[in-house]
Every structure is written in structure tokens, then in C-alpha cells.
Amino acid sequence: MLLEVTLSGVTLGGMYALVAMGLTLQYGVARIMNLSYGELLIAAAFAALWFYSGLALSPLLGLLVVPPLAFALSYAIYRILLQPLVRRAKTRDALEVDSILATFGLLFVIQGVMLAAFGGAYYSYSFLSIPLHIAGATVAANRLLALVLAVVIGLGLYLALTRTRLGTAVRAVAVDPVAAQLVAIDVRTASALAFALGGALVAAAGVLVSMFLTFNANLGVVFTLKALVVVIMGGVGNLLGALIAGLVLGLVENYVAVFVDPGLTLAATYAIFLLVLLVRPQGLLGRSSR
């Protein structure tokens, strides 16, 4: 029982971690606080659903197609909608306020389109819902697959950001955008790419989530909030922190839901969030200064 709950908690935590890593890229590098972030996750989930039930194609194929589309869409959103805000913002705080307002509007646009297309009903599809027996525990194959894919994507991104020159350049923009220009990094382009990459990540998470969770057109904001909580808990801009915080949150939510009361899940989420903020306001792996 404990193992089962743990495995399913880790799966959920893996999703949170992936979503938080994407938001870290958008907020930490491109400096955009994107409130429409979770909507892209739900849009990707609907796309995967359409792939599966409409076109009879595997969601795994969706995983190859949907994130690149989300990358292109996010890139366009950044260049058209957000770059003018970046250009006119005098300070980082001003950009934050502007981007919150703009993406708040975007949230309703994307949500409205999805509501018009799918209504408010809950959707799910049955893909690989085969029970697997691991060390006495029973896990659905789709959950396990989602977890494995999340680990692969998250690890791949982490290595790309820490082991390559381009990835290091992306982190450098997050650390100091002025100094980044002095080593010939085109900060505007790097920001657009980071924003787009964040969009691709959350879309990948959306496809994975759709494999084992029911979802509806209103659920985006839940994921945006979870991503925010995880990013702040892990330490803003810290990829490893987002990973750990995401796993912790997924585990705690599942433990509370199963062993205490499902109604207290959200309360538990914000209880740990508050606890972390009280004890380490800078986040689990964040730095205290700045």
C-alpha cells in the first residue's frame, strides 16, 4: 500500500517538477510571470486526447508532435505579445506587473477557446491502463510510463542546461542579463528561446498528464498555481530545487489524500508551502541574498 501510494506520488511529483522546470525557464530566464502557463498544459492534454480518440494515434506520437508545436506557439507569443512589454519596461518589477496582466488576459483567451471547443466536461482516455505488479505493489502502466518519460525529459533538460555552452548561456541570462550581453549573448533571442522551451516543457507535461489523469478546460489554473508553489519552494531560478520541491509536493499530496483525507490535499500543499516560506524564505535551494 505504502509503495503504491509512493509510486503514484512520485509520478505526480514528476509532473509537477517538469511543469516547474518550464516555469523556471520562463520566469527565471525570460523574466515573464506567465499566468496562462497551465492553460498550455491543458491544451496539450486535449491535443493528446484528440490524437488518441480522433486520429487513433498513440499519445507517445503526440509527445513528439505537441511540444514542438507548443514551442512555436510560445515563441510567437513571446515575440508578438511580450517582447513589446520587455522593450518598454523600465525595471524588472514593471515588466513583472505588465507580464502578469498580459498573460492573465491570455489565460482567458486560451481557456475560452477550449471551453468553446470541449465544454466544461471532464475528459480522459484509456491508454496502457494495464496493471503492473512491482514488488507487491500494483501500478498502472501508463503512470509508470509517464514517470519514466518525465525523468528522461527532466534529466535531458538538466544536462543540456548544465553541460552545454548554449545551456550555460541560458542560465547566464538568468544570473545577469547585462553581463550576458558582454559575452556576446543576444539576450532577446535567448529569452525568446527560453520562453518557448518552457512552453514545450509544459506541453510535454500536458501530454503525459493526459495519459493518467482526467482533465477539463478549467484545470489550467490549478497547474499554474502548483508550478508557482514548486518554483518558489525550490528557490526561484533553481532547476534542481524545482525538481526536489515538485517530488516532495507530489508525495505529500498523495500521502495526505490516501492516509488522511482527500479533501485536505490542497490544504497540505499550502501548509508545506507556508512552512518552507517561514523556515527558508529563499526556497529549499535558493540563495538568501538578492
Binding site: 555552452r165 550555460t168 548561456a169 542560465r171 547566464a172 544570473v175 545577469d176 547585462v178 553581463a179 550576458a180 550581453q181 558582454l182 559575452v183 556576446a184 549573448i185 543576444d186 539576450v187 540563495r287
Partner: protein, 239 residues
Amino acid sequence: MLEVAHLSVQYGRHRAVDDVGLKVGAGEIVVVLGANGAGKSSVLKAVAGLQRPGTGTRVTLGARELVGLPAHAIVEAGLALVPEGRGIFGELTVRENLLLGAFARRARADEDRNRARVLALFPRLAERLEQTARTMSGGEQQMVAIGRALMSAPEFLLLDEPSLGLSPLLCGELFRALKRIRDDGISVLLVEQNAKRSLAIADRGYLIENGRVVGEGRAADLARDPAVQRAYLGGARQG
């Protein structure tokens, strides 16, 4: 040849730099001397593309006009700035700082050779490649900043008060390193308050007051000039 003409910088109503002209020839060390707030930093920022200069400003590197280019393109053109306060990536390691120094396309071909040169120039960095830059001492951070700038294979190296906050011992080390950089074929333009040390290694110098050039000449002549001695070399202010 780096040539700056009619450079002006305006912050709101305040004119920080007014009609400044200066030249740095190939293989030269040129120092710009001036008190705090004289406009020295603004000159370097405008040249490096971090600060938009006023109309009429001309900055040419060889035959290339630099005014209007974004800062990252100016690095590609062959000009590297070590900014005031060093501007290193504090969260990243020394190795990563140097890796990013060679982010410019112009730097890729000679990257290994340049890294070897930087590590020979600052052996301390070779011992501390995996250290997070912000945990290093001020002198070491200055080495990272200069090393990172050299990794971009510049023709011209610009430094904004590199000796600020360094002990006299480290200062000596720094200025010796600048001389070696010049001897390696990279021209150096630095702004400084430490007149004595910088004039000792420089070929030529400019004096800036209230955003205007008020004097220029060979470094040796400037060091002997009574007016310069009074303003920049006098009394207990200089070590």
C-alpha cells in the same frame, strides 16, 4: 585602431559626457583618468553598447562603425568590456564563466589557445576552475572577469576601474597582467583613479573632468605634469 569622436552621454537632463574624443592604437595601453563621477564609466559603457550615446557620436573599430550596434554584436566585432563591479556570473563556476567568455563566434576557433593563455596569465584560476565565482576573493573575481573578456578573443580590451578595492599587492599583479595582455597583441583602454600605477604601464593618457577631456599626452609626460600630480598623484590619496 579604436577611435571615439564627439561622444556624448545624457541621463535625463544631466549631460554626463560631452564631446569626448579619444584614440587607442594597435598595441597601446591607454588610460583615462578622472575623479569619481567625471564620466569615465559612461564613456566605456557607450563604447561597449550598454549605454546609448547622443547623436553625432562616432565610434569606429578599424573601418567598422559601432554606434547603434547592440552590445553582443560589439563583442563579436572584437571589443570586450570588463565592467565596473566586474560583472561576472556569480552563480556559475570559473570554468563556466570562461566557457561563456568564448560564446562569441569569433572566439571559437582559438578557444583552447586562449584558455591556455588565460590560465597561464592567472594560474590561480587553473586551481579553482570548479569554484562558484561569487565565493572567490575580490582579486580572484577580477581575474575571472578579465579572463572571461580575453576568452572572446578581443582586439581591444576595455576595463572600468579594475584596481578598485584591490590590495596594493593585488594591484601590482593586476597591472603587470595588463602589460602582458598588451604584449600578447591586445590593445587596452582602461579608466582608472589609480593614476600612479596606471600611468606607469600606459603609453598614453587622457584626463576627464565633468564629462570633458581636459588634457591628453604621453603617459610619461602626464606623470611628470605638475597639474596632473596635483590632481591625481598628490598627497595621501594615492598609494
